[in-house]
Subunit: 224 residues, 6 copies
Amino acid sequence: MRPIKITPNIIKNADGSVLYESGNTEVICTATFESKVPEWLQDSGWITAEYSMLPASTNSRVTREITRGKKNARSQEIQRLIGRALRGSANLEKMPGISIYVDCDVINADGGTRTASINGGYLAIALALKSKYPDLYNQGILTPVSAISVGKVDGKIVDDLDYIQDSAAEVDLNIVMNSDFNLIEIQGTGEKGTFSNEELNQMLDLGKKCIKNIFDEQIKVLKS
Amino acid sequence: MRPIKITPNIIKNADGSVLYESGNTEVICTATFESKVPEWLQDSGWITAEYSMLPASTNSRVTREITRGKKNARSQEIQRLIGRALRGSANLEKMPGISIYVDCDVINADGGTRTASINGGYLAIALALKSKYPDLYNQGILTPVSAISVGKVDGKIVDDLDYIQDSAAEVDLNIVMNSDFNLIEIQGTGEKGTFSNEELNQMLDLGKKCIKNIFDEQIKVLKS
Amino acid sequence: MRPIKITPNIIKNADGSVLYESGNTEVICTATFESKVPEWLQDSGWITAEYSMLPASTNSRVTREITRGKKNARSQEIQRLIGRALRGSANLEKMPGISIYVDCDVINADGGTRTASINGGYLAIALALKSKYPDLYNQGILTPVSAISVGKVDGKIVDDLDYIQDSAAEVDLNIVMNSDFNLIEIQGTGEKGTFSNEELNQMLDLGKKCIKNIFDEQIKVLKS
Amino acid sequence: MRPIKITPNIIKNADGSVLYESGNTEVICTATFESKVPEWLQDSGWITAEYSMLPASTNSRVTREITRGKKNARSQEIQRLIGRALRGSANLEKMPGISIYVDCDVINADGGTRTASINGGYLAIALALKSKYPDLYNQGILTPVSAISVGKVDGKIVDDLDYIQDSAAEVDLNIVMNSDFNLIEIQGTGEKGTFSNEELNQMLDLGKKCIKNIFDEQIKVLKS
Amino acid sequence: MRPIKITPNIIKNADGSVLYESGNTEVICTATFESKVPEWLQDSGWITAEYSMLPASTNSRVTREITRGKKNARSQEIQRLIGRALRGSANLEKMPGISIYVDCDVINADGGTRTASINGGYLAIALALKSKYPDLYNQGILTPVSAISVGKVDGKIVDDLDYIQDSAAEVDLNIVMNSDFNLIEIQGTGEKGTFSNEELNQMLDLGKKCIKNIFDEQIKVLKS
Amino acid sequence: MRPIKITPNIIKNADGSVLYESGNTEVICTATFESKVPEWLQDSGWITAEYSMLPASTNSRVTREITRGKKNARSQEIQRLIGRALRGSANLEKMPGISIYVDCDVINADGGTRTASINGGYLAIALALKSKYPDLYNQGILTPVSAISVGKVDGKIVDDLDYIQDSAAEVDLNIVMNSDFNLIEIQGTGEKGTFSNEELNQMLDLGKKCIKNIFDEQIKVLKS
């Protein structure tokens, strides 16, 4: 598993922020709070996520979505995953009338940007709660959440795929868990192959180990 | 599990088509072949899927995407899943230069529209191959693929969730398998709860049984 | 004139619906009622129509409007015609505060889709009124409306043009009439030729006969 | 019928142009020639029209289409009519490889802007042909075309409706004819009423008289 | 400096309007008043400008912004300049609750369209105030504003650049001044060269002379 | 003047990059090279700039442009300025066939983001040339360029305005100079006041001093 580096409070104007690095993957995650929720929500709060890549974050420049005029479908899929994962870790009923926007902007991409976004997004919310809403923070409205990608490359189960591994993988599985190691979300795809129930369980076991490490790093940041 | 009804060749102008019904969920799936592939593909074919809902397919009318001016994020996510599932069941190298567009238009929605789209989409391609490209069909470039949703509702594992069950579900899991019961895709979400590894395996077991039934229905259509 | 086939109540979630077939042309027409009118309307109701083609409804696949990013101009023109025709058949003052959305989705196209949409759209509204708003229905807020295309092909006046005739027509005339055979709308175009006042009257005479037939079919559906 | 005023060559950079005034309705019509036709055309030329209103051309300011982000449906319908009318007056086979863009920009609107656009658009093309393509002009590739609106207001047949009449009209009929008084296009709508075949013929008779006047004015401009 | 020609009240439906000509550059400027201001404004009025070019206003036809689907970046930049210039000449606090839309539509372009728009836009507002809001006009809520472009062409300082000069200019400088010859806005660009502080002052001196002439013309129009 | 901090090579996947900080303003500037130029360019290279703000870079969250569906007008204006400034510092004829994309993504905003973008953008290009195109770099195809904002706040001339000063400024002037202290671009606006020629010269003098400091910092980075 690649080394993790977390730099808290990197964006001064954000309510909460981290630079989350996993190997060469670097994502700026910020949390912004607003006292307004979508109309269809009652007596509850809301968390929404947006995911975007800086044009120069990949090997060949990515055209900005606004230049193409449409939101990239992959980005949409990823930000829906991040939003579900973070809502799955929060007790939204305990924060009525509050919306949290989590922005995940990839500044350098080398595989695993969606799981880095979940890990960093959780921290951005937690840091914002800690410094600006200590009452909510102490009520424990947010339970820890961590995510990792595992996969099958050349027939072997591997963890934390970088860009080269990801491009060659037969199977790619993203796992999101809470601190009891229960699943919040699981997404596995076999575009270049299939996978058995047994392989799924092997990947889950490996993922669980990675997630334990990530929890430890997240806790260090929040304790400091 | 709800009754399945499959009406082949429902759209005269399509290369292949079915009306796929699962309970009150009804999806028109069509396959259109074009002799042109995306530039970045070499020596290979391609399958792409589009998913859309008729405005009156749900209880309260859904505004058309073109009226809102943007593709719905949920639709994007679903059509990416359908595309991956169908590509996962095809031997794209054996159909160089051919693109297949699979259009899944939901005419009535009652839960499970994405898995119905995969099941119907596979049939639309197979029917088109059978009638228009018998050589490719006989080469077996397409292996069967089936999908089902299972979930946890009120703490119990249930299969083939309808709209009311889906709205109340703690966990929603979509499973896509080939005819060897290996996984092509798995997507599970616990927005209102989490799920253990054991529960995941229970859901997979139940899903496998449903998928067996669906394969039987699909084979009947192709044999007739 | 091609055979007409009308299947009522085809979409379960719609307030009213029909599958309207004229030869190989097939259109799903639905009516959805909402208790809300545009701001600029006072003491009145409103009827609006949307027309769209499924991608596989034509010989070569039609790109979805949302993919192109703009509403197709031909569709706009057609749905404005449908809306005017249906408003022309309704007594909007008698249904204040009610909007009716008529969605016409062409699932197979073989000429005459706009007139099929008017004929089916009228039925979708009438069926919705009959089953859900019997008071309004009995007040007769809706008077019958029917439409047909006639034209000049190879110098001869013909009715109910299919796709091949339409492509070759010198003149294409769409006629919308109420049950007194008064005109609600007339649209005639001579892209490949012109037409005299006399020819216009011949086409109107022929159209009137077709419309009589269509009224008979519509009444049968509503009486059953 | 309101007075017509035609000012030729009003836009220096255009290939051909007129300011066409009918009462208080004022439209700038320009023709621009390009040596390039749409791909699907072979051995033929093409004429396309665009119609737009200046924001201050109406009583209450009209938001620009680019600000709303979508082409106005009424404008689409109108520019399709203008395009058909002008193509109907041209011998496109005699101008292979040439596209003519006709831009109709309404600078002041008081009813009848679409028919003014057709009348002015024809002149813009003719003036451009005369000064820049005398060979094509002398071959007579363009036959005269004129248009007028007539209608039924308070039960009476009236010609050349201004904005106030148009708003009150039971029936609005737009007629496009060539110089033999054959119809190129006819569009009649009865949103607030219906009209009989006999009334249609009365309106056509009145329209024919107006069109005779317009032809006279158009010829004067081209002869000078 | 090229001859200026100002035709007031050219658009009947506008609150105020001019056709402003500077050589072959011709811009229709209109002012429309609305009793509604953006939400974020309190106790103040607002002036906003929109700039657009007719498709045939330039040598080769300009595609409409709505056809491209996005506002042209150059137009955006220009209309922001016009808006700032006109707000800089108005006492917005004295017109609380009033928004003025200034529309500048270039009908023929030969260099200097943005400064012509400012000069004409000021007049359109002043004429609207004079005829419709004489109280505000007499309070002097608007102070005169004029604009001119100067530049360096072939090493020489020149004023009022036409299209050919502008295309060849090393430096292009737009100056906006009030009637005390104080600067409201200055924008200078040296894409094909640079310019010294001294040259900047020479260009300013020349611009001041031009602006004096423009003020004289503007006053003539308002006095008549 | 606020302290400047420049961190080179901050984005691994970019050809050249810096994090440019001026006080609390922080901008990631990257340069990406492509071997392809716009069609209308011959025998020349091209430099284009894009400017964007991260949603959490300001006090209240900025909605992403893709969410609004249109490029922000202020961003357009700024990125056009950055592009002109950088092209003004390059000898484009010496790099035929090469396009350079300069992306300026503001991660924290506290005034002066556009001038920081120019200063950082120049460095990103220079670093890319130095490491990847040493031949071009040694030919001196790029001459230094620096930019600073000065202004008038409470009647006094001040340099390097932060957000609070900028919001209160009577005059805001952005100056772009090359290393000979000749002007490449000047943009001054007096929305809340005007400024005399003399004040303009005072602001230029102050700006020149700031620019000298910035050049020193830029040179340090390039020499290291």
